[in-house]
């Protein structure tokens, strides 16, 4: 065997290791779109609250229900965009959308996220509203870091960024709205663009 053969062996080993353990078809573009939805949703919520007579949010008003609906729409749109674009990309890469890698990716993402979601609801129910923004960011970040070992490297850095924002948000709960906009809006766009240029644009 020549040196070239050894080199080929090594690159084949690396290729198989990553192909068999990581889902690489995550779409960066869907991150950009999710961030855009989040910002639009936040602008709408901001406008709703400010045009109301009170000028701040209380929990059992009409406006609160609208804000909740607004957030729900952002969530559903983001998830469906991500699933759609990722499926497209997986098809293009010849990667399966539903195999051991994606199952592992989803379970490791969903366990911290669902636990955090339920915990946030409990906190809301106890009327401790100040911490919800921080909790959402924190658990979302933990879920990302946990899932990152099964997908593209940038997901880990996005997760760490969300965790830091969540902790800062816990210290300054008054600025919860802005941390939320940065975490779910701006950061998704930033990391989406980074991922797009690193992995998709050839």
């Amino acid at each position: 065997m020549s040196s070239e053969d050894y080199l080929k062996d090594i690159s084949e080993i690396k290729n198989l290791m990553s192909k068999s353990s990581r889902f690489i078809s995550l779409s960066g573009l869907s991150g950009v779109l999710a961030g855009t939805y989040a910002i639009l949703g936040a602008v709408y919520a901001y406008w709703l609250v400010n045009k109301s007579e009170r000028g701040y949010l209380i929990l059992d008003g009409q406006i609160f229900r609208l804000v909740l609906l607004d957030m729900l729409i952002v969530l559903v749109l983001s998830i469906s965009t991500a699933v759609y674009l990722t499926t497209l990309k997986a098809k293009k890469n010849g990667e399966k959308i539903w195999d051991a890698t994606t199952k592992r990716l989803l379970t490791s993402f969903l366990i911290p996220l669902v636990a955090g979601g339920i915990y946030t609801l409990i906190i809301l129910k106890q009327q401790r509203y100040g911490q919800t923004g921080a909790l959402m960011l924190l658990f979302y970040g933990l879920a990302l870091v946990n899932a990152s070992k099964y997908t593209l490297g940038y997901v880990k850095y996005l997760g760490i960024t969300e965790i830091i924002l969540g902790l800062l948000c816990a210290v300054y709960p008054g600025y919860g709205f802005w941390f939320w906009v940065i975490g779910f809006g701006v950061m998704h766009i930033v990391y989406g663009i980074l991922m797009y240029f690193k992995y998709e644009k050839q």
Partner: protein, 98 residues
């Protein structure tokens, strides 16, 4: 040169065998079809190479049934992981040595 070649393991001296080990060291296990697809190997080809690796104790095979379909799972043993690591390190040294 002789020294360097000591750690090049004959058991890994084939694309399919090297591939099986690469997949198994980073995954808890892999089943027959997953390996087949990832390696682009035929049934017979994969079966004979996995048998060779099993014989030297580098992988462990678990057969079970899911419903009525047989399902074979492959695991890397501690020995297999250790030997594979040495092999990869030897390859890297060979490349750097040039």
């Amino acid at each position: 040169m002789k020294n360097l070649l000591n750690n090049i393991n004959k058991a890994f001296d084939h694309r399919i065998r090297l591939g099986i080990m690469s997949i198994l060291v980073v995954n808890e296990y892999a089943d027959f079809n997953t390996l087949k697809e990832l390696l682009g190997a035929t049934d017979g080809n994969l079966a004979s190479h996995s048998k060779a690796l099993e014989k030297v104790g580098f992988i462990r095979v678990e057969k079970q049934f899911i419903g009525r379909k047989p399902n074979t799972k492959y695991y890397a043993t501690a020995l297999g992981k250790e030997e594979f690591k040495k092999h990869v390190e030897a390859l890297e040294r060979l490349i750097k040595g040039k």
